[in-house]
């Protein structure tokens, strides 16, 4: 991997000083979204404002934490950081699917398994360096994507189960197991959750120039080097999200149905 270019990229971006005034200016653009949400009665104003404020505070805080971890260069800190990221992602996905009681372990399994598998493979095969400045941003990308995919999968399954209760119960009444009765729903939810990943992979380079690559090119790296890194990340994300969606979809029936194989009444 092109470590020198990567390092240089970060350095160059860091060298371009952003003042807090620039941040405030960017905030004005957020106001457009809020006004739009208000006028169209989307009810997203509060969510948007809270999310933006949180993102700001979180990013500021993480800036200091990452600085410390990069300075210490101890693998245990890197590991702890990655676990904390996964835990927070689990918490977020669980809240998204709060209509399904006890879904936290489904999210934990989906996010944990997919992240551990892909990160482990990348590190084990030596595709990425085990230093903090490589592991943490890549772990962030993986966990962020697997989180979104796990949430979409579970929420979709939940909604479909609600809409299709008569069909599911008809299948159960014919002697189907919960897995068999929810088979179509499981496949449908995985397919839906994978759409953004597949579409962004398809249009990669034409519509979508991803962050890591953009950063490296901005920093003056050889575009071909930047592309190689991006391709690695893209494949890794496709694998991670597929594992996350499948895990979530296969585990959700355990919470949708009772041990006596009845479809629960949810919200």
């Amino acid at each position: 991997m092109s470590e020198a270019w990567f390092d240089k990229g970060l350095a160059v971006i860091a060298a371009q000083q952003f003042g807090y005034l620039d941040v405030v200016a960017a905030l004005a653009m957020l106001a457009i979204a809020v006004v739009l949400s208000y006028r169209e009665r989307l009810g997203l104003e509060k969510d948007l404002l809270v999310a933006s404020l949180r993102a700001f505070v979180q990013l500021m805080a993480i800036g200091y934490v990452i600085d410390l971890i990069f300075g210490a260069e101890r693998f245990i800190w890197v590991l702890l950081m990655v676990v904390a990221m996964a835990a927070f992602a689990t918490f977020t996905s669980t809240r998204r699917a709060r209509a399904l009681p006890g879904s936290w372990w489904i999210m934990a399994a989906a996010i944990g398994l997919s992240a551990a598998l892909t990160l482990g493979l990348m590190l084990g095969l030596g595709i990425i360096d085990s230093r903090a400045r490589y592991v943490i941003p890549i772990a962030g990308m993986i966990i962020g994507n697997t989180m979104t995919v796990a949430s979409v999968t579970v929420v979709r399954l939940l909604e479909d189960a609600r809409d299709q209760r008569p069909r599911i119960e008809a299948a159960l009444a014919l002697g189907a197991t919960p897995r068999q009765a929810a088979d179509d729903l499981i496949r449908g939810s995985v397919r839906l959750a994978m759409v953004p990943v597949i579409d962004s992979t398809k249009t990669m380079g034409i519509v979508f120039l991803p962050g890591a690559m953009t950063g490296m090119i901005l920093a003056g790296a050889d575009p071909l080097e930047a592309v190689k890194l991006q391709v690695v990340i893209m494949y890794m994300l496709a694998a991670a999200t597929a594992v996350s969606a499948t895990t979530a979809a296969l585990l959700t029936p355990r919470r949708l149905f009772t041990p006596q194989q009845q479809l629960r009444r949810l919200g």
């Binding site: 008569p166 069909r167 119960e169 008809a170 299948a171 159960l172 009444a173 014919l174 002697g175 189907a176 197991t177 068999q180 179509d184 009772t258 006596q260 194989q261 009845q262 479809l263």
Partner: protein
Amino acid sequence: MDPAEWKLSVEHLTLIMPNDGAPRLILDDVGFAVRAGEVFTIVGPSGSAKSSTLRAIDRLVEPTGGRVLLDGRPTNTLPVQELRRRVGMVFQTPALFAGTVLDNVLYGPRLHGIIGGQADGGREQGCDLLGRVGLPPDFCDRSADQLSGGEAQRVCLARALANDPEVLLLDEPTASLDPGAARVVEDLLLRLAADTELTFVFVTHDLAQARRIGDHGLLLVDGRVVEQGPLPELFDRPGDEATRLFLAGRLGGEPTT
């Protein structure tokens, strides 16, 4: 009669549903027994928990108390899949799966591996079953979403029969149909009851229909059995105040107490 001689017996069946912190008693000590091969009719106003009774028998909802015996054996000692294969159910609103009519009819046999060895994949068996519910063989390849309500309900019936059940629970199977289709399905049920060994538990809110269908039956009001006995005599000599009111058409969906 010895409990083992009843095809299906329901003892002290109780169902309590959580309802935002205020649990609601849905079924209150419901008990009845059904002979092999007969049609047992449960009649009651809407909201009297007739559907819940059937759902509890098929364990689509877990009873809070009491038990159900199939051939004298408590059903909670049977694997759920076996219970549901032996005790089939047809719902008020037909819910067909995506695919063809044949896919629907063969859903159960495919699950249970009953048609594994047949060269035609069960096509002949599926068409035969359609014939038994009065649908011509060319229905086999029709898409399941292109049927009328009455046709869909007959496919549901064929689908339930395909599992070769011993007991069939019928939850107001004609209530969602127009009068013509309802009559066709009702006649079909009467013919099936007469021609087969199958035991039926038939649920209806329609008193006139209950008079036409059923060897024995009960009147369910507000989750409680208020009267039971042979049909149609049950409705000719109403002993209970609630029965009298319901028969007079004055009970509706209102609670009695």
